[in-house]
Symmetry: C2
Subunit: 221 residues, 2 copies
């Protein structure tokens, strides 16, 4: 993992995923982290309001519609095919951690939520699980927390993903697909090259750098 | 200009900005371009629906909330201060042109919409205007179109901004602020360096490249 850490909260319907997320978001915010979340909606959703200017842009055929106020930015993008979790995450900038609701098939550390009343088998194998949040003890070799032990769960997340981050974090997308970076060495070269170029351009540097390039059609070779 | 071209549609209330945008979007889509739009909302807006999971994430304190379905991606980001138009535009990827509704104070080419019944002085000086869309001829040295002459207006936009694009397009943000690139030479160096690094990493290249780096706190020097 070379970009922002991503942890998925998964579980059956009505197991309490959103409730756990609400508590975890609040706890991480209390600790001073900037938090992003992604809700995986497998069915499709409508969010903009019929008749509004931005809705009319989308109806007229706009591929991406943004609405910007002094307090908020909203973006709605039509997709030709479903994005991977990494691709969605690439739109989320300037946060310390990304929590997802859903994405049980993505290759990210997971917290499974379980309630006795919902029952049945767990969705994940112990190997996939960072933790289990459950209202009954289960016989599994995975750290287990009750729905009230949010502080202890946040401690685990902080220890594993937030204190041990190795900066610089680097993420690269080509045509919307994530490019894996396997070596620390590669990450350092990319970060230092980009940092050098950008600081030469503006005579200084900040914390978050983003570069976007459109090579043009047929110019890829 | 080194990134995706941006054109702003401005005008007084009820002058027909959204109507013009609808027609222009449809016409540019018909010509095969990918279009993004930005609505400038100076007052603030609510878009997510109370009670929905994503809304609950935001209420709990999430700084950025995304919702991803197979057909659509939505992103809602809380802002500490208003973004510039260039910053908002940096979230819009994979389009050929960005049209805005509003942003009369931003430094982009503008199309002013005027209706006789609304009256009054124009918002823009002739120097700022790419074109005027009006239902009465005005004595101004600016190309003028009626609300029905969308094809001719699209021809002008195509000629000035879409046919003459010089690839590669490059945009750079540091901590959310756009870094101006004044020289063609600089644009070429940045694009070729990044293209080289990324193609070495994955043994090939695509059209759109995006790199994000988080240098970490205190690591900027």
């Amino acid at each position: 993992m070379s970009g922002t850490p991503i942890i998925s909260v998964v579980g059956k319907s009505d197991s309490g995923k959103t409730t756990l997320l609400e508590r975890l978001i609040a706890e991480l915010k209390r600790r001073g982290y900037r938090v992003g979340t992604i809700k995986h909606d497998t069915h499709g959703f409508e969010i903009d309001h019929p008749g509004k200017d931005s809705w009319r842009h989308a109806q007229a055929g706009s591929d991406v519609v943004a609405i910007a106020s002094p307090q908020k930015l909203a973006l709605i993008k039509k997709l030709e095919s479903e994005l991977t979790l990494d691709e969605v995450a690439s739109y989320i900038t300037d946060v310390d951690i990304i929590l997802t609701e859903g994405y049980k098939r993505a290759d990210k550390p997971k917290i499974e939520v379980h309630r006795k009343v919902v029952g049945g088998e767990l969705l994940c194998s112990p190997q996939e699980l960072l933790a289990l949040v459950t209202d009954e003890p289960l016989n599994m070799p995975v750290p287990q927390f009750s729905f009230e032990e949010i502080g202890a769960l946040a401690d685990l997340i902080e220890e594993k993903f937030l204190k041990r981050r190795e900066f610089p974090l680097v993420s690269i997308l080509v045509d919307g697909k994530g490019v894996p970076i396997f070596k620390d060495f590669t990450r350092q070269i990319v970060a230092k090259t980009v940092k050098g170029m950008v600081s030469a351009l503006q005579g200084g540097i900040g914390r978050f750098i983003s570069i976007k390039i459109d090579l043009g059609e047929g110019e890829q070779k």
